[in-house]
């Protein structure tokens, strides 16, 4: 499991992700539509696309079905809230 997001807050102002930028921590306001799940043969990642359209991984897991489904639920919750 890898991650770069320390804290994800979803409220009426939008979706705020506090994430690691190298060794510093920064907060980023993320568009709902930029949140996405990316699946490969090995892993499943929750990513957002930054202002340049580059995908940034928030949480990545190589875990089993339960953990992957949890990540799908999380993405749906954060997107629709």
């Amino acid at each position: 499991m890898e991650y770069s997001g320390f804290e994800i807050v979803r409220n009426s102002s939008g979706l705020m992700i506090k994430k690691r930028n190298d060794i510093l921590v920064e907060s980023v306001l993320v568009k709902d539509s930029s949140l996405e799940l990316v699946e490969t043969e090995k892993d499943l990642s929750l990513v957002y696309h930054n202002e340049n359209g580059v995908p940034v991984t928030i949480i990545r897991t190589t875990g089993g079905l339960k953990v992957r489904k949890t990540l799908v639920h999380l993405k749906n919750l954060l997107s629709k809230a």
């Binding site: 807050v9 409220n11 949480i59 875990g63 079905l65 339960k66 949890t70 639920h73 999380l74």
Partner: protein
């Protein structure tokens, strides 16, 4: 799914064994087994109770997924107050990261002890002792750097 393929190749007797040992199976295997037995008339007639139990076990795990019980395995916790949803890193995972960085930095620091040996190699010439020590310290330091990088990535 890998279990679908495996279970489709099983004989009926083997599937009966699997159905009776379902409690030892993981979630993916249970789901794949349910897909097979609930569409097979033989199982529906002979083992309706087992199928119901399997269904309820899967439903229970599905409800745990929906209530984010397994988010802890990703190192996060979720809290919902009003219309605010907050997902935060579990503190014990911070500690693991911190330990990883510290141990990685210590291992990387081993490179310092290999510097003198590298100096000998380049000034005096190659000899077994300094060569082994310099390579071992370099490998340990590399492991340390990788550990730090992984903990910070």
């Amino acid at each position: 799914m890998i279990y679908d393929k495996i279970f489709k190749q099983k004989e009926r007797g083997e599937l009966i064994d699997l159905l009776s040992n379902r409690s030892t199976m993981n979630f993916s295997a249970k789901s794949a087994l349910l897909d097979i037995v609930q569409t097979d008339e033989f199982f529906k007639e002979k083992y309706p109770d087992e199928i119901d139990e399997l269904k309820s076990e899967i439903d229970y795990e599905e409800s745990s997924i929906a209530s984010f019980d397994y988010l802890k395995y990703l190192g996060f916790r979720i809290s919902q107050i009003g219309d605010t949803i907050k997902v935060t890193r579990l503190s014990r995972f911070y500690l693991v990261d911190l330990m990883g960085v510290l141990i990685g930095a210590l291992l990387a620091g081993v490179a310092y002890f290999g510097l003198a040996e590298w100096k000998i190699l380049f000034t005096v010439g190659i000899s077994i002792g300094p060569l082994v020590i310099s390579l071992v310290t370099a490998i340990i330091a590399l492991i340390g750097v990788i550990l730090v990088a992984r903990c910070l990535s």
